[in-house]
């Protein structure tokens, strides 16, 4: 996902004002993925939301000390969100890989087997099936549980006014940074 362009940055202007512009765009970018990413089938939106969280986290990690105190808490919130979305993404990457591998093994066995069911006891990959199916079950169940955690985490951020509080914090300036 290409990052939204931040307009009006001035190399000679104060760091705090420039960083505020960047954080505002990155925060809006992150929040814009909801409610679309609340649909578990929206794999691309979830992936893009993870990237948006990463961008916001990194700008806050560097420039957070310029702002009001909530910017510091926000770094942790965004990191938690990014980590959770990262774990969901890992499942989304691994599931098709496992399915493709299993399909490949089945195809090899189809080529090796004859017409009689009795020959299935001799096909080369017969012992691999159960583990790969178990892995698919595990990854799907894990993905579902992680997705529920993600929804709960986002609801919690909404309840606690994450977006508004961070938007306010970046309008404040610490006296001397870190």
């Amino acid at each position: 996902m290409k990052a939204r362009r931040v307009k009006g940055l001035d190399p000679e202007g104060p760091l705090g004002d420039n960083a505020e512009r960047i954080v505002r765009v990155r925060l809006d970018e992150l929040c814009s993925f909801m409610p679309k990413a609340a649909d578990p089938d929206e794999v691309v939106a979830l992936h893009d939301m993870r990237i948006a969280a990463k961008r916001l986290r990194y700008v806050l990690e560097v420039t957070g000390p310029c702002f009001g105190p909530y910017a510091d808490s926000a770094v942790k919130h965004v990191k938690d969100l990014q980590d959770l979305l990262g774990e969901i993404h890992d499942c989304d990457v691994q599931l098709p890989e496992v399915a493709a591998f299993l399909e490949e093994l089945v195809a090899e066995d189809v080529a090796a087997a004859g017409a009689s069911p009795g020959e299935l006891g001799k096909v080369p990959n017969r012992r691999t099936y159960s583990g790969l199916v178990a892995l698919q079950v595990h990854l799907q169940a894990r993905r579902r549980a992680l997705f529920e955690q993600f929804l709960e985490l986002w609801r919690d951020y909404e309840r606690k006014g994450f977006e508004a509080r961070l938007a306010f914090a970046v309008s404040e300036r610490s006296q001397s940074g870190s």
Partner: protein, 160 residues
């Protein structure tokens, strides 16, 4: 995971001056993590260097307007290429670790399938290591370290 150094920032200092200091620090962190990254028996090294690359890329993008445009684009392109190569090695590392943990937790009857998958992933890990070796060589040949530091000098000159 290696923690990034805290960098002092002042909200009232010029953006370009902060850019020079932050990018210099993140550049130093990247090159400090190079040693041992091709060692597949210690997967944390490649992880640390990948994270350092991500942090460097992030600060380059944050402070982009502070750097001379042409030199900046090619340096960012090379940092991205290095990040991609580190990812090519890191992704199978992570999957292997997860599959081995899964294999240890399930009944023995389920292990042959997972072990077959791990064996496939080991092949991809070796391929990723070859790609990373080439990317590290390119990083030195193209003088990426010096070019990044030169970008920082350029940013500082803007506000000298």
């Amino acid at each position: 995971m290696a923690k990034a150094a805290d960098i002092d920032v002042d909200p009232f200092e010029p953006f370009a001056r902060a850019a020079a200091r932050v990018v210099r620090t993140r550049t130093g962190e990247l090159f400090a993590h190079e040693e041992g990254v091709l060692d597949t028996s210690d997967i944390e090294r490649v992880h640390d260097m990948r994270v350092a690359t991500r942090r460097l890329r992030a600060v380059l993008e944050i402070f982009a307007p502070c750097f001379p445009s042409g030199d900046f684009k090619t340096a960012l392109r090379d940092v991205k290429a290095l990040a991609d190569a580190l990812g090519e090695r890191r992704d199978p590392d992570v999957h292997i670790e997860a599959m081995e943990a899964f294999s240890a937790a399930v009944q023995p009857v389920n292990r042959p399938g997972v072990e077959a998958l791990v064996s496939r992933l080991r092949g991809r890990q070796a391929g990723g290591n070859d790609a990373l070796r080439a990317a590290l060589e390119h990083m030195h040949e193209c003088g990426l370290h010096e070019r990044l530091l030169s970008l920082c000098d350029g940013a500082e000159e803007l506000v000298a």
